[in-house]
Amino acid sequence: MKLSQIVIIFFSLLFMQSNENLIAAGGETYKNLKPGFSFEGPFGKFDRESLKRGYKVYSEVCSSCHGMKQLSYRNLSQKGGPEFSVERVKEIAADYFIIDGADEYGDPVERSRVPSDRFQAPFDNKDAAKASNNGAYPPDLSLIVKARSDGANYIYSLLSGYEEPMPDSLNIDDSLSYNPWFPGAAIAMTQPLYDEMVEYEDGTEATIKQMSYDVSNFLSWAAEPTMEERKSLGLIVMGFLIIFLFLMFFSVRRLFKDVH
């Protein structure tokens, strides 16, 4: 075997990874659905309209239980995101309140939020969150897409997967819901989305699938707001390196021509 072959084997083994997200549920395995997102691939960009709709779903549905502590309202207007106008973001933020410091008597002062404030959390602390949710803690969604394998597809499958009929062989606790995409198939979150639950400003029909898609898009952006910047810089870096590579290749060739 030649050494070059070994290198190839080494690399293929290194990059070999199981992308399967097979989750057992009542004897059946459910593979993540792949609705196809515009941000996939090296040139992928977020669908701004879908991100805006996704934010609406998050703020009107998910945010009653799930926080997004890594995000500030200003992120909603920054480049590469939903790109709401700065004015719109001020309005969005002003709908929420925050206790910010104390007045001259030491009493807490409440004010409306501004774009530089973080997203408002639904609960004051983890225990309050658990107490309101049957003892289950609704995870923070800022990084949920990165914190799950094949995140965007998983979130989409999970959110749109509540209507699957439960196999008779399966017995789950009454406080839990059946969802074959959730590990173990029994999830504490009840079905969050129903048709026409939100009213989209752009007239898009708010089906469960559409809302799941939009909110998966939004959460993917939220997990990494710099993704578009990363991919576009990557293109420049790769281009530079490839040109440099050719120059160096011919330099090496010429230099070693007379070395025998």
């Binding site: 914190a147 394998s149 990363r230 991919k231 590579l245 070395v259």
Partner: protein
């Protein structure tokens, strides 16, 4: 290049400097005119790549430390702050995180190259040992760096690995408490790991200088394993190998950039984007990919202490390599039997890496045990036996002379091959 070549200061200033601090002479002798075998292949470019990898890690690490907060309540969020709010913070952090993987990839290739071409043999024993020291320091540094992220895998990985210390009889528990700064992984642990993670790269840097010094005393090995005889065998390091190494580095950077820009999280574990929680244990605790072979060895043994000993032993055995393999012929090119065992060893190491990521049960556990046994047998049984009984194939006389060396004698007494032209 002429061996008799000597640096001559060209102008008044360099002449003046040369008498006081011969900096230019040192640079010239070690980086420019340094005689290097002319037949080095691309496996010899990894030393250069590794040096630059270390520098990259140190520079990005220093910048990250400016924005990172080593406190259990803030560490995770401070990294998200770097990712989201610091200018190009995402880039610096992705370079640092993937850079560690690339560093290990390069060091593995570098070590397997040594193993194939016998670069650890006389007179390069010290060079090799320093390399193993660097490798060991790299493992410790990388492990501590992974903990700083303070995700679920950081926390539970730290818990599992530090607890290995507790298996040491009598003093284990006390050492563990000292290591953790308490009775479990907590804020004091994070603080001392941060401190050490900042310190150790500079220690590595120091050992790297010794490593390169040792290299420059003995000179490079080469793919034939035959010692350099005269200046016909060598070319100057610059421009030949500076250019060739740079070319290889660009290829390396292309692969590195793919990870940074297009798949930055694939080498990590999704669970590490969940903040550390002492009350929730992940389903499978796995270390970073580059530590998986050692993790597989650890779990292959039913006894905890033995597992720990074998895991450390798997690195410790490397220190004795020059004395386990006493075959005079260096390169596997001329060792047909060694070559077979070598590639089996390579595959077995890759397999251990795969097995380290699987649950230790059934066929996985069985294969882990087979590979672990082979790992040690390769060094402790195969190498000494081959040194004694293997008959090397025909070798050329020298690097520049492809004619078959007919003067190779087999010493009948101990079966050891003594290529007279090589000693």
């Amino acid at each position: 290049m002429n061996h008799d070549y000597e640096y001559t200061p060209s102008n008044g200033f360099t002449k003046w400097l040369d008498k006081r601090l011969p900096l230019m002479r040192f640079a010239d002798e070690n980086m420019l005119s340094f005689p290097t075998p002319k037949n080095l292949n691309y496996f010899w470019t990894f030393g250069f790549i590794l040096t630059l990898s270390l520098v990259t890690q140190i520079i990005t690490g220093i910048v990250l430390a400016m924005h990172y907060t080593p406190h259990v309540l803030m560490a995770f969020d401070s990294i998200e702050h770097i990712m989201r709010d610091v200018n190009y913070g995402w880039l610096i952090r992705y370079i640092h995180a993937n850079g560690a993987s690339m560093f290990f990839l390069a060091v593995f290739i570098h070590m397997f190259r040594s193993l194939y071409y016998g670069s650890y043999k006389e007179p390069r024993e010290i060079l090799w040992i320093l390399g193993v020291v660097i490798f060991l320091l790299m493992i410790i540094t990388a492990f501590m760096g992974y903990v700083l992220v303070w995700g679920q895998m950081s926390f539970w990985g730290a818990t599992v690995i530090t607890n290995l210390v507790a298996t040491i009889p009598v003093v284990g528990e006390s050492i563990l408490t000292l290591l953790l700064g308490g009775f479990s992984v907590d804020n004091p642990t994070l603080n001392r790991f941060f401190s050490l993670h900042y310190l150790l790269p500079f220690v590595i840097f120091g050992v790297v200088i010794l490593h390169i010094w040792a290299l420059h005393v003995t000179g490079n090995n080469n793919p034939t394993g035959i010692s350099v005889k005269d200046s016909n065998d060598t070319i100057s390091f610059h421009p030949y190998y500076t250019v060739k190494d740079l070319f290889a580095y660009i290829v390396f950077l292309l692969m590195f950039s793919y990870f940074i820009f297009y798949n930055p999280n694939i080498l990590g574990h999704p669970d590490n984007y969940i903040e550390a929680d002492a009350m929730v244990t992940p389903a499978h605790i796995v270390p970073e990919w580059y530590l998986l072979p050692f993790y597989a060895i650890l779990r292959a043994v039913p006894d905890k202490l033995m597992g720990v000993l074998l895991m450390f032993g798997s690195i410790a055995v490397l220190f004795f390599l020059p004395w386990l393999d006493t075959m005079k012929v260096r390169s596997a090119r001329y060792r047909p039997v060694y070559k077979i065992f070598y590639f089996t060893f390579l595959i077995s190491c890759l397999l251990l890496g795969y097995l380290g990521g699987q649950a230790p049960e059934g066929i996985y556990l069985f294969l882990s045990r087979v590979c672990t046994i082979y790992y040690f047998a390769f060094f402790l049984v195969v190498m000494p036996l081959l040194s004694r009984y293997e008959k090397p194939s025909a070798m050329p006389i020298g690097i520049s002379n492809p004619a078959i060396d007919t003067s190779i004698e087999i010493d009948e007494v101990d079966g050891d091959l003594v290529p007279s032209a090589n000693t």
